[in-house]
Symmetry: C3
């Protein structure tokens, strides 16, 4: 085992987990600007087939602000099963699981969504 390389990867894993958790916490605290600040200018965000693809941190902020103002009264994003693959020291891809609880402004019953 190369101790230095192993520690670097562990530290990088922690930094990625911290980034994912910061997204959740700022979203759940109703802080769209702080959510957007986590994304690069060329980031691509795809919330699935029901929503348009979002490109760049400015668009992320605007989209999430609309969601928080118009749709969600409260949210809680619980992340688990963080799975990361490192392609060399400076690039990683990953999948995480999410349980998202939503309370809606329009009075719909609280919703729970599970996804990867």
């Amino acid at each position: 085992m190369n101790t230095h390389a192993a520690v670097r990867e562990l530290v990088d894993r922690q930094a990625i987990a911290d980034l994912i958790h910061a997204y959740c916490r700022h979203f759940d605290q109703n802080e769209p600007e702080q959510v957007a600040a986590l994304f690069t200018d060329d980031a691509v965000v795809d919330y699935g087939p029901e929503a348009a693809t979002i490109v760049g941190s400015a668009s992320v902020a605007a989209t999430i602000a609309v969601g928080l103002e118009q749709t969600f009264a409260a949210t809680s994003h619980h992340v688990s099963n963080i799975q990361l693959d490192f392609d060399g020291p400076d690039r990683a891809t990953g999948v995480t699981y999410l349980y998202a609880w939503h309370r809606y402004r329009d009075g719909s019953p609280d919703g729970g969504r599970r996804g990867q």
Copy 2:
């Protein structure tokens, strides 16, 4: 990167996660004395506006024992999103997410609570 300092922080992070998980597991196994043993004598526990603030491990044990005897028939505390900030090598603050499932002794429907 200072490898030794990085490893120390990673080991400390693991120890804090282990402590949080031990709280959950002893609670869910109905072991109030073991829950209390995780707290220092000057620990302050605040379960929110519905409950009085608890100070010290002896009070923690008594309070949890009452809850387990009178209120909860079974519980399951699922922790995620552990977020820790280190202020120097010997002090950290943090927030975690919790999904708590409760079965009640009085026959109320099972409850699920989400919180930070």
Copy 3:
């Protein structure tokens, strides 16, 4: 602190977490062969009092394939509270929490199970 030993344990913890998450992901992606490949030939799998004990990766594959074909239309296995105890450098025991969401082929309401 022995830095090398500490790093080795952290790397081992990560590998065990990755293994647990691979089980969940292959199961939830309906890939029974890949689930089974995670188990050794002498692995013993006990899903609790309602199911027969399974021994060996080939039996795991067969059992899970039947479950995915006949019982489950979709599943999502969310792991948390991974608690590991190391008995020397080459052996560990552990407990994790699981929230499993199930959609059934027979049209029963979606189910959520919590366990350790």
